[in-house]
C-alpha cells in the first residue's frame, strides 16, 4: 500500500530520491498523475514557500525541495501531456544579458514549478534573441527575467523592446525581479508583473496571466 503523504513529505524534506521512488510506486499502483501533482506536490511546494517567507526555511531547503519536486515531475510530465493535462503556464526564465548570477533565477524557477508552471530555464546571460526564440519555438506564454546588477537592469527593457520589434510582445506576459528591481522600474519598462521575492513570483505570474 502506497502512502501518498510520503510524496508530500519527501518534497518538504528535500528528499529527491524518496520523491522519485514514491512517485514510481504510485504510478505503478494506478494513481492518476494529475492527482499526485495537485493534491500532494503543489501543496508541498506551497508549504515550502510559506516556510521560506516566514524564515523557517532558507535558500538550501528551498532548492532541495525544488529538486525533489523536479525528480517527481520528470516522471509525471510525459504522462500528463499524453492525457492532455496542460501546465498552468509555460515560462521562459533567465537572467538577462550581461548578468551571470543564477541563484535568484533558480529560486524563482523552483517556486514556479511548484506552482504548476512548466519552466524553460534559459540560464544566465540570456540575450533578447534567446527569449524571443523560447516564445516562438517553445510556446512560452510567460517570460520571467532576473537581474542582480544595476548595470544589467537596462537589459530587461532592451529585451522587451526586442520582443515588440519581433512582434511577440503581445503573446506573453512578462514578470521581472532581482535585488535592484522595484515595482516602479517594472512599470517603467513595460513589464506585466513584479515580485521582490521568489515565493511571490508565483502570485505575480498568476496575476499577470489572469489579470
Amino acid at each position: 500500500m502506497i502512502e501518498l503523504k510520503q510524496l508530500h513529505e519527501a518534497i518538504l524534506n528535500g528528499d529527491a530520491k524518496t520523491a522519485k521512488a514514491v512517485t514510481e510506486q504510485a504510478l505503478a499502483a494506478g494513481h492518476e498523475p494529475l492527482k499526485l501533482v495537485q493534491e500532494y506536490m503543489m501543496p508541498a511546494m506551497n508549504e515550502v514557500g510559506r516556510r521560506f517567507e516566514c524564515n523557517e526555511y532558507f535558500v538550501p531547503e528551498l532548492l532541495l525541495a525544488a529538486r525533489a519536486m523536479k525528480a517527481a515531475l520528470e516522471l509525471l510530465r510525459p504522462l500528463l501531456a499524453a492525457k492532455g493535462n496542460q501546465p498552468v503556464g509555460r515560462v521562459a526564465l533567465g537572467t538577462v544579458k550581461g548578468d551571470l548570477h543564477d541563484i535568484g533565477k533558480n529560486l524563482v524557477g523552483a517556486m514556479l514549478e511548484g506552482g504548476g508552471y512548466e519552466v524553460i530555464d534559459l540560464g544566465v546571460n540570456v540575450t533578447p534573441e534567446q527569449f524571443i526564440a523560447a516564445i516562438k519555438d517553445k510556446k512560452a506564454n510567460i517570460v520571467a527575467m532576473s537581474a542582480l546588477l544595476t548595470t544589467t537592469m537596462p537589459s530587461m527593457k532592451t529585451t522587451i523592446d526586442a520582443m515588440k520589434a519581433a512582434g511577440v510582445r503581445d503573446q506573453v506576459k512578462i514578470i521581472v525581479g532581482g535585488a535592484p528591481i522595484t515595482e516602479k522600474f517594472a512599470l517603467e519598462i513595460g513589464a506585466d508583473g513584479f515580485s521582490e521575492s521568489a515565493a511571490g513570483a508565483v502570485s505575480a505570474a498568476h496575476k499577470a496571466v489572469n489579470g
Binding site: 528535500g14 524564515n55 526555511y57 532558507f58 535558500v59 538550501p60 531547503e61 532548492l63 532541495l64 529538486r67 550581461g98 551571470l100 548570477h101 543564477d102 541563484i103 533558480n106 546588477l149 544595476t150 548595470t151 544589467t152 535585488a179 535592484p180 522595484t182 522600474f185
Partner: protein, 332 residues
C-alpha cells in the same frame, strides 16, 4: 590602530561607505583597471579621500580574486565587477585534490600591492584591505547555488573546501597585515542565505578560527554580510569579532540594541535602491533618518549596505556625505 577605539572615541559620527568604484568618475579609470592595477586603486581612493576627507581608505571589493587564485575562471569587463563563471569543483575527489594557493597568486597580488600603496598615502589614513569570507569563497569554487544544496546534501564536501579556504584566507590576512593594512573588510554574503544554524556551522565557525589565528587584537576584521537578517545576528556574533558591516536586510537599529556597546556595527543604505536609484535629495534624507535613528549608539558607523556599484553616481555619494556633515554640524 584599533578600529573600535577610533569609532568609539570619535567626537563626530563617522561614515565608511564601501566606495572604490565611484572613484572611477574622478580618475577616468575603468573597472577592469581597478581590479588589475594597484595604482588605479590608489588613484581612486586618493580622489575619494580628497573629496570627502574620510579617515578610512579601502581596497576594492572584488569577490572573484581569491576564487581565481584557486583556479576559477572569471569574467572581467570595463564596467562591472568581475564574476566567477562555471564550477571549479564538482566532486569530493576534486575537493580533496584541490591545492591551496599562496597569497599573491594571480590577482590577489594586486590587492596586497594596493594595501602597500594605500599605506603610503599622506595623512596616515586607516587602511582596510578587502577579501571574501570562507563560505562565500567555498561557494564560488563549487557554484553558489550548488553550495546551498551541498550544505545539507553533502556537508563533507563543503567542509573539505572550507578547510582549504580558511587556510588560504588566514595566510592572505597575515599577508595584508604584513603589507601594512590596519584591518580587513571580509565579505561573507553567501552565508546570509543559510539558516542561522547553517551560518553558524559553515561560516562563523571558520571565521572564528581564522580570526584567532590571525590575531584580532592587532588586526581589525570587519565581517560584512549584506544578506543577513536580524535572526542571523546571534550566529554571526559567534565569530567573536568586534566589528560587523551589514546590508539593507538587517534591522540595524534593532541589531544595535542586541550587541554590546563596544561592538561596532556599520550599515546599511541599499547600494542599488538608494545610491543608484534615488535622487540625491532623497539620499540625504535617507542617510539623515538612519543617523537620527542611531543617535544613541556611538558604536554605529554610517555606510552603504554593500559596495557601491560602478554606476552609482558621484552625486549620490555627495548626498550621503552631506547628511553626515549636517548631523555632525547639528551635534556641535
Amino acid at each position: 590602530m584599533k578600529f573600535n577605539h577610533l569609532v568609539l572615541q570619535s567626537p563626530r559620527r563617522l561614515a565608511l561607505p564601501i566606495s572604490m568604484y565611484p572613484g572611477l568618475a574622478l580618475t577616468g579609470a575603468k573597472v577592469s583597471d581597478i581590479v588589475t592595477n594597484p595604482q588605479a586603486q590608489l588613484a581612486a581612493q586618493a580622489a575619494i579621500r580628497q573629496r570627502y576627507q574620510s579617515p578610512f581608505v579601502l581596497c576594492a571589493m572584488d569577490l572573484s580574486a581569491e576564487a581565481e587564485a584557486f583556479g576559477c575562471t572569471i569574467a572581467v569587463s570595463d564596467s562591472e565587477v568581475p564574476t566567477v563563471t562555471g564550477r571549479l569543483i564538482t566532486s569530493q575527489e576534486q575537493a580533496d585534490k584541490l591545492a591551496v594557493p599562496q597569497p599573491g597568486d594571480r590577482r590577489t597580488g594586486v590587492y596586497l600591492e594596493a594595501v602597500r600603496l594605500l599605506r603610503q598615502m599622506p595623512g596616515q589614513p586607516f587602511v582596510f584591505a578587502g577579501c571574501i569570507g570562507p563560505f562565500s569563497l567555498a561557494a564560488r569554487l563549487v557554484g553558489v547555488s550548488e553550495a546551498m544544496e551541498l550544505t545539507i546534501a553533502e556537508p563533507e564536501l563543503m567542509h573539505t573546501l572550507l578547510e582549504k579556504c580558511t587556510v588560504f584566507l588566514t595566510n592572505y590576512l597575515k599577508a595584508f597585515r604584513a603589507a601594512g593594512a590596519h584591518g580587513v573588510i571580509m565579505a561573507e554574503p553567501a552565508a546570509g542565505l543559510l539558516s542561522p544554524r547553517g551560518l553558524s556551522a559553515y561560516s562563523s565557525a571558520y571565521v572564528k578560527r581564522l580570526a584567532a589565528e590571525v590575531g584580532d587584537e592587532s588586526f581589525n576584521i570587519v565581517l560584512h554580510n549584506c544578506a543577513a537578517k536580524l535572526l542571523h545576528l546571534p550566529a554571526i556574533l559567534e565569530t567573536g569579532l568586534k566589528a560587523f558591516h551589514f546590508g539593507a536586510p538587517m534591522d540595524i537599529v534593532a541589531a544595535l540594541g542586541k550587541v554590546a556597546p563596544d561592538v561596532i556595527l556599520c550599515g546599511n543604505l541599499d547600494p542599488a535602491g538608494v545610491f543608484v536609484q534615488m535622487p540625491p535629495a532623497e539620499i540625504t534624507v535617507k542617510a539623515a533618518q538612519l543617523l537620527t535613528a542611531t543617535t544613541a549608539h556611538r558604536n554605529f558607523v554610517l555606510s552603504s549596505g554593500c559596495d557601491l556599484p560602478p554606476n552609482a553616481p558621484l552625486a549620490s555619494l555627495d548626498a550621503f556625505y552631506a547628511a553626515l556633515k549636517q548631523a555632525n554640524a547639528a551635534a556641535h
